[in-house]
């Protein structure tokens, strides 16, 4: 093996042009892959740290949608461009809560209602039209209805710059300072503590409620990918999250409601009856109409118009928010290492108890944000694969030319008694040597670039950029696993690139090979 290694290194040194070309490709490729991996690692870690600490906790307990449509804390996954589908409430929340309370490994917990909205103000008229440069600054936000007594214990890193938490009973909102700035820019008026604002739903229904600004806060992490967020009283959020009695209990209509009309077909109401061939219908002036005839399908005394049109008590009741309804229970584990186990335990208990609830981790809870990072990762991987194929082909071509140039040398070695295996080992050793050297060089350059970038603490502004990049911080976190993985993959690729040219050379008879000029 010693002679193979010695010959390999000397060959690399002798064929400088080839060595430099292949080495540069590998070096640059490894550098790009390491930089990309380190950036994505930083993004993933930053996103996880931020969201677990400030928004999703470690574990989220939620209900289920009827058709098992996926959702996270920020909405339902949908390709529809229509209204935002409401998130499910946790059914049998008392039983779910009891299971959560009895499960070990949970340090803190709080409940949450999630919706979306934007601020309006009575101070401007209905025909308000913002300036062109302010159109993008509409003060929209995720609306989190919280239980203040437990929420701010679970997420204590909140920086309230002015005012205080929303109360549990009044319609109050704790506003993100970014929303405050957008409000000022959009409506050309400041938003101050104690101001009354209109919170409107981001839907065609146009639900609007008045609320009082009880405080302003700054995000715990300025580079967070999290977009604007307003905290509010639970009852206010329930209005926008469709957590009304009607939404949950529409099937439980009392006996007093006359549902007979609902059972009639269109023909029965407006068409011909079996005994009457006239064109009269229930609303005609004829004495033979359905309300006077014994043969009609329904007599007037059977229909309670008060029930149908007059009494709105039930409707009002159904439209009231369900004070016990919540979308999520957010849990913080006492040890982050136990999260997977705790999730599994919770899900088993929910299933055993026949509850329509589920527990999942922060990443599922923040799919809206994590998926963009995942998308970037996939795109990067695709680019790396394309780059790898191109580099692979270039290396293979260069090696083919190199092997052809050295056919005479191969023939000499074969004529002197070298086996095919010896020749293969020699070329593979050359490949692995140049790959390892270049990959190490590429890794060192990448690490140097990372150190320089990290020293400058660069960051990007803008919600969209932050959301796409999983945060505003441009940092690199290299990991040993990523670095070694890259080097091993490049070595495998480089070895594979050798197979064709070396096999081709070994198919040439030693005689033909020897016909090349020797030294």
């Amino acid at each position: 093996m010693g002679v193979i290694f010695r010959m390999a290194l000397r060959n690399l040194s002798q064929h400088k042009a080839k060595t430099v070309i292949i080495g540069l490709f590998i070096c640059i490729g490894v550098m790009i892959v390491n930089l990309g991996n380190a950036f994505l690692e930083s993004t993933n870690r930053g996103l996880e740290k931020d969201f677990r600490a400030n928004y999703t906790g470690d574990i989220v307990v939620a209900g289920r949608l009827a058709d098992n449509t996926k959702f996270d804390m920020f909405g339902v996954a949908s390709v529809s461009m229509g209204d935002r589908q409401a998130l499910p409430a946790i059914n049998d929340i008392d039983k779910v809560q009891a299971i959560v309370d009895s499960t070990k490994g949970i340090d803190k917990q709080t409940k949450l209602i999630s919706a979306m909205g934007y601020f309006r103000t009575d101070a401007v008229g209905d025909d308000f039209d913002p300036d062109d440069d302010a159109r993008m600054d509409i003060p929209y936000f995720f609306l989190f209805g919280i239980e203040p007594s437990t929420y701010f214990k679970a997420f204590s890193s909140m920086k309230i710059t002015e005012g205080t938490y929303p109360s549990a009973t009044e319609n109050e909102v704790l506003v993100d300072v970014r929303v405050k700035e957008k409000f000022a820019k959009y409506y050309k008026m400041p938003l101050n503590l104690g101001d009354k604002v209109l919170v409107s739903a981001m839907s065609a229904a146009g639900t609007t409620r008045e609320a009082t600004v009880c405080g302003f806060y700054e995000q715990p992490d300025k580079n967070s990918a999290m977009t604007s967020l307003v905290y509010c009283t639970p009852s206010l959020a329930r209005t926008f999250a469709d957590l009304t009695y009607g939404a949950g209990y529409a099937e439980e209509l009392p006996q007093t409601v006359d549902t007979k009309l609902g059972t009639l077909s269109e023909d029965a109401l407006f068409g011909e009856t079996s005994n009457d061939t006239s064109d009269d219908d229930m609303f005609s002036d004829s004495d033979d109409d359905m309300f006077s005839s014994d043969t009609s399908v329904m007599s007037a005394k059977d229909v309670s118009f008060d029930n149908i049109l007059g009494d709105t008590t039930l409707r009002d009741k159904l439209n009231q928010t369900d004070d016990g309804a919540w979308n999520f229970i957010i849990l913080k584990a006492d040890k982050t290492t136990n999260v997977k186990k705790t999730i599994a335990t919770l899900n088993k208990q929910f299933k055993d108890a026949g509850l329509d609830a589920q527990a999942f981790d922060w990443k599922t809870a923040a799919t809206t944000f994590a998926s963009t990072v995942q998308g970037i990762s996939t795109l990067f991987t695709a680019l790396v694969v394309i780059l790898a194929i191109v580099v692979f082909i270039i290396i293979m071509n260069t090696l083919t030319v190199s092997v052809i140039e050295r056919t005479g040398e191969i023939g000499t070695m074969r004529a002197l008694g070298a086996s095919k295996g010896f020749v293969r080992k020699l070329f593979f050793t050359e490949s692995i040597s140049i790959t390892l050297l270049s990959a190490t060089g590429g890794t060192l350059i990448a690490l140097l670039i990372m150190v320089i970038f990290n020293a400058f603490h660069l960051s990007v502004d803008g919600d969209i950029a932050k959301m796409i990049l999983g945060g505003g911080s441009i940092q690199f976190i290299p990991t040993l696993l990523n670095i070694l993985g890259t080097i091993i993959l490049v070595c495998i690729g480089s070895s594979l690139a050798n197979i064709y040219p070396v096999s081709s050379a070994l198919k040439i008879s030693p005689l033909k090979a020897l016909s090349q000029d020797g030294e």
Binding site: V3, R6, M7, R10, N11, S13, Q14, G408, E409, G411, T412, M413, R414, A415, L416, G417, A418, S419, K420, F422, K507, S509, P510, L511, K512, L514, D517, G518, E519
Partner: protein, 282 residues
């Protein structure tokens, strides 16, 4: 006892849609310790025969025995032979001659090349990245597990090997050039390295294809004289086989095979040829 035996060996080269019969059924034997020459004009087939003895070219038919081993036993050479009749009947048929052998036979051939044969090429064919010492040492580093490839030197200790290589370097007069690379040496010096390399495994047969073709007359004489000395060395007992049309070499040889157009026209042993085997028998 013959160290090389050819029996009715043929070699046919396809040349486009034509075929060239380079060797037409050659049969001869070369005995251990001979200083033999295969001689003839250009294109007579002498290099082809030397290459077939050296197992770097495949015969189209016949058998070749090296030191008692029937080299192509078990491989159907006839299958690959293209006959005149076949070409005439189907000139467009793209039948290729066998250029490679099955892995098992290739292993046997590779082993024989290392243990029984040494090559001295017209173009020297040294390994450019190795110095003189390393080039000479190279065949010793190719020892495999196959007993067929075993050379007597493989049992040497490291010190004995070094001593043996240094001895060979001294024999060819390159002791002072030990660490020089081929590119730093003259043609004659490179050929001396090639001779030492050919001898290093104590192979019984050394093949030399026009060894003086790229050397001036002074270097040629020195090289030939060196080879003759090594041939006479009773410790080495090396058989030298040349492919040459150099009259000086032919004159020095004790066994000369003349070729013309692929056919052996004469196979003569000179009077008084001093072959160890024969001498011992006498």
């Amino acid at each position: 006892m013959s160290v090389v035996t050819f029996e009715n060996v043929r070699k046919v080269y396809p040349l486009g849609k034509q075929q060239v019969i380079a060797v037409k059924g050659a049969s001869f034997g070369i005995e251990k310790g001979e200083f033999a020459a295969i001689s003839g004009p250009s294109g007579s087939g002498k290099s082809t025969i030397l290459n077939m003895i050296g197992l770097i070219d495949l015969p189209s038919a016949g058998s070749i025995v090296i030191d008692g081993t029937n080299v192509y036993e078990g491989i159907n050479l006839d299958e690959s032979q293209v006959t005149d009749a076949r070409w005439a009947a189907d000139p467009d048929k793209k039948k290729k001659q066998r250029t490679t052998v099955p892995a098992k036979v290739d292993k046997r051939i590779t082993g024989l090349r290392r243990s029984h044969l040494g090559f001295i090429f017209q173009n020297f064919n040294l390994i450019p990245v190795l110095n003189v010492y390393e080039n000479i040492e190279f065949p010793l580093l190719l020892a495999g597990k196959d007993p067929a490839s075993k050379s007597p030197v493989d049992d040497f200790t490291k010190a004995q090997r070094e001593e043996w290589i240094n001895f060979l370097m001294e024999k060819v007069g390159l002791t002072d050039w030990k660490l020089h690379k081929p590119a730093e040496m003259s043609g004659g010096q490179r050929q001396r390295v090639a001779i030492a390399r050919a001898l290093v495994t104590k192979a019984p047969v050394i093949l030399a294809d026009e060894p003086t073709a790229n050397l001036d007359s002074k270097n040629s004489e020195q090289i030939l004289s060196l080879m003759k000395t090594l041939n006479k060395d009773k410790d080495l007992q090396t058989t030298f086989i040349f492919s040459t049309h150099d009259a000086r070499i032919v004159a020095m040889c004790d066994h000369v095979i003349h070729l013309l157009d692929g056919e052996i026209t004469s196979d003569e042993h000179k009077e008084g040829s001093d072959v160890y085997g024969k001498a011992e028998e006498q």
